[in-house]
């Protein structure tokens, strides 16, 4: 028995053994603490995915893009694009930030395109500048979230594409939320695009929405404004080719 506690009035209190805990009580303690631990780990994972890994991968993708920016001859010429992950263009979207840039590669597989490079071209769609629909995908959050701010695009915005030999400037048309199965948005005559006509040169950006819920897809359509071997005046700081 332990030494007695002394109350202020001088009373001595002797503590006896506590009643033995039941098996149920012990089991509930382990169950409860395990569940709490799971909750904390899930919270940590969300933080990892949304912030830490997102930033790290985003920086790697940006550095990779800068390498190509400095050395345009590394781009695969559009006519030669064939293999998954062939890098053939660099994308600039001023609305996403002055320093935002990503490479565009062939195919939309997460690995090795969307996760490592950033933006992927749907293989059965047209190439930049062609009549039809040049469609690309990018992650919304995590893995550098190439199209994290896709919902901010609006009238007057432009997307700039730099390839080995040519600049392409696309102008914003429309944003739409669709089901993941609505692949008609990728058609040469995009399904759901108001004012689309045969012979149009369109570009489609697709990404997941809502961010980190990913049950639907957000689509942004643009149309070719012009193409030029000259660097567009507003892109001069990103180098000519």
């Amino acid at each position: 028995m332990n030494a007695p506690d002394l109350l202020p009035d001088g009373t001595k209190v002797y503590w006896g053994e506590l009643p033995a805990r039941t098996r149920l009580s012990k089991t509930l303690e382990i169950l409860g603490e395990t569940l709490l631990t799971f909750g904390v780990v899930i919270g940590l994972f969300v933080g990892y995915k949304a912030i830490l890994q997102d930033n790290q991968v985003g920086e790697v993708q940006t550095v990779l893009a800068k390498v190509y920016e400095a050395e345009p001859s590394k781009f695969v010429a559009i006519a030669d694009v064939d293999e998954l992950a062939d890098i053939f263009a660099q994308m600039y979207v001023p609305r996403f930030g002055e320093n935002w840039t990503r490479l565009v590669a062939e195919g939309t597989r997460w690995h090795p395109v969307l996760n490592e490079i950033g933006v992927g071209h749907y293989r059965n769609t047209e190439m930049p500048g062609e009549v039809g629909n040049f469609a690309v995908a990018g992650h919304r959050g995590g893995f550098g979230g190439a199209f994290k701010q896709i919902h901010e695009l609006r009238d007057g915005d432009r997307v700039y594409l730099k390839t080995r030999d040519m600049w392409f400037v696309y102008k914003y048309m429309q944003t739409k939320i669709v089901e993941p199965t609505a692949t008609g948005v990728l058609n040469s005559l995009p399904e759901g695009l108001e004012g689309a006509s045969i012979g149009g040169r369109y570009m489609t950006l697709t990404s997941c929405t809502p961010i980190f819920v990913n049950t639907q897809r957000i689509i942004v359509w643009l149309e070719l404004e012009y193409q030029s071997v000259m660097t567009p005046p507003e892109m001069v700081s990103h180098g000519g080719n």
Partner: protein
């Protein structure tokens, strides 16, 4: 579980606290460097034939 662990740790409470912090750090390192990247690569996988 955690109270059992606390009782099993040796030494006075500052030592127990130090060992606990080390265990927690080790667990976090395991999560961030091994478990989370694995989870990311194997659990959240793409659906083919859909819009990406």
């Amino acid at each position: 579980m955690y109270s059992w662990l606390w009782r099993k740790l040796p030494g006075p409470w500052p030592v127990k606290l130090l060992v606990t912090l080390m265990l927690v750090s080790g667990f976090l390192a395991f999560c961030y460097y091994i478990f989370f990247p694995w989870l990311d690569a194997n659990v959240f996988i793409e659906q083919e034939n859909n819009l990406q």
